[in-house]
Symmetry: C2
Subunit: 366 residues, 2 copies
């Protein structure tokens, strides 16, 4: 379904536009995007060198059989345990006629390898590979959006099933564990750092699930995601156990209206910064401008956060196939926090939300 040689051909076109002689990837989402396989990065270099004419995988002996079985890139160059993979990279670059000029290097290559690479190809200028790959990755193919819908559905089902069971007194951490276990049983291969936060903890936008119990009258913020067939989901809903205090209801109304204002603008050609601005204006008009302390959204795909960013000042336009979160939120330190988030895909005429849980402040029974 996903055509990796075609992607590498597009990457080569972009390399030429950007004046790059080589693209060097480590184990990363970039590699997954271009060859269909990656793994957790370890202390050994394993990756791909792609030049305008040639391409090869650079693989430690220990992984040779595995990479050979999984990656459809026939030229495998194996390095032995007592040798330097970056010397091999340099030799290969000379063989491929690319041992000079600008190289696009994996954004995630760790510093200890960057240093060895700089030593091995001292004549090259290293720039981040995302300069070549981010625009390609940001515009998802139909097959990618289909996978993201599956990831989104997995998460939405797990949240719905779990929240149907929660009651005051249950520790937030157990709610998170129940959602995560359901996502795994539905086939998710990993879960993101789940946020299940109660009351004042929800005022920390990146709080993790804690031991604190769910309490009647307090806000419960649930922000979870998973990886499913390589692609990511991200979903936030805000709940209240029993009756919502007036301030919570007022603040949620602003968040909900900001969400709708943003969704109404998203279509090909609209500047991403304008989408952020529209949401921000709604919240400011409601009197909560100082409480909306983060950007409106981030791209998502093979990575949980990637381009494009829906942030003030971003003049880049929404493009067909962009997938990003729309997640306005307001935070009141010591009191509570509220956020509403769906991932949307930009369509020809507007946008599609990949999740469709009710978007009102959800009242749970106490």
């Amino acid at each position: 379904m996903l055509d990796y040689p075609a992607r590498r051909a597009l990457a080569r076109t972009r390399m030429q536009q950007e004046g790059m002689n080589a693209l060097l990837l480590f184990l990363s989402s970039h590699l997954l995007y271009l060859v269909g396989w990656s793994d957790s990065p370890g202390e050994r270099f394993l990756g791909a060198l792609i030049t305008p004419e040639r391409e090869a995988m650079i693989v430690p002996r220990l992984y040779a059989d595995e990479v050979s079985a999984r990656v459809g890139l026939p030229d495998l160059r194996i390095w032995e345990e007592e040798t330097s993979p970056f010397e091999l990279v340099a030799r290969l670059a000379r063989e491929f006629g690319a041992a000079r000029g600008r190289w696009a290097v994996d954004d995630g290559l760790p510093f200890h390898m960057v240093r060895r690479l700089q030593g091995a190809v001292p004549g090259c200028t290293l720039v981040p590979a995302s300069r070549v790959l981010a625009p390609l990755r940001a515009q998802k193919e139909a097959g990618e959006v289909a996978r993201m819908r599956e990831a989104a559905r997995t998460t939405q089902e797990a949240v719905t099933e779990t929240l149907a069971e929660v009651r005051p007194g249950l520790p937030a951490r157990e709610v998170a564990a129940a959602i995560e276990n359901r996502m795994r049983r539905k086939g998710a291969s990993a879960v993101a750092g789940s946020i299940v936060a109660v009351g004042p903890t929800a005022a920390l936008p990146h709080a993790r699930a804690a031991e604190e119990p769910l309490r009647a009258g307090e806000v419960l913020l649930v922000d979870v995601g998973c990886r499913y067939r390589d692609y990511r989901s991200d979903l936030t809903r805000s709940y209240v156990l029993g009756e919502a205090p007036v301030k919570v209801r007022q603040a949620y109304r602003a968040v909900r209206d900001a969400y709708e204002a943003a969704r109404g603008l998203i279509r090909p050609g609209m500047a991403l910064g304008e989408v952020d601005r529209a949401a921000r204006e709604v919240i400011a008009r409601a009197g909560f401008g100082a409480n909306f302390i983060h950007r409106l959204g981030h791209g998502i795909g093979l990575d949980p956060k990637e381009e494009p960013y829906v942030v003030a000042g971003n003049t880049d336009p929404c493009l067909l196939g962009h997938t990003f979160s729309v997640e306005p939120g307001v935070y009141f330190p010591g009191e509570f926090g509220l956020r509403l988030e769906d991932v949307v895909a930009v369509t020809e005429t507007g946008n599609e939300a990949l999740t469709d849980l009710p978007r009102d402040l959800i009242v749970l029974p106490v």
Copy 2:
């Protein structure tokens, strides 16, 4: 129990020995080691700058409350969304009198940040922070070994309980999922990429758990680990379902003897490379030298792999508090693979295995 200011004092002593003017850490196990907290690295820089006289956390606005609540390092420097964290690092370095000379930089700092750092402090020579920190981290304090024993026990119990239930026909992936779920229920906060491999798949040293079913007469290789209170475990046992073929028994005997030969040598002062050599000689004498295709072991602690490495040619000595895996293995492509692994801690007179599951080839009922 763990004294982070004392560790930072030791790090400063080593910085001076190594001629470093500053230590710049990102979200990593280095940061966890020195301040007691870290998080998954994201696209925003968050870390610590430590100089001989001063120390500060550098934190994006969004994480300020969280870091302030969790980290006992009072000087918090916050950067706003539209500014550069590396310009803040450079200003801070000037304020601390450290904006020159050699800097020890987090080994894991991703390339896209390395580039911005190099641009912000062009006069500094960046070298890997592990040069300062690896020797400190390698020699575990008693409190660290105690946590590693807990992590090891968690893993051992999960393996024992799960393997008591397996039968031919069960998919390998379900065995892995059952072990992982048990580790999580026992309090593990993460599990490593579990290997549960059957027959020929076990001949790939880094195979992941697959759909293939357990089969009578075939080898089952189980290599799993977890993180428990920040510290890691790693454990491998080889099983056979029903009667073991002669070749499997012969090969396992060599692995077992190699393990014992290595364990018998490990004590303070013994060169790490000699430990590898002793194991390798036993396997070579049994006629399987070409089938032992990886080093004998790797350090483990906050990271699943860290210094020291038990590898040919390493003349560094075993030291009190070193914790590393001892994991001889033999691999027969297309047939099977066998490995035996415990993590050991170097004691004053020898070494202690943190796991004590039976070390024979374990025969499971069919």
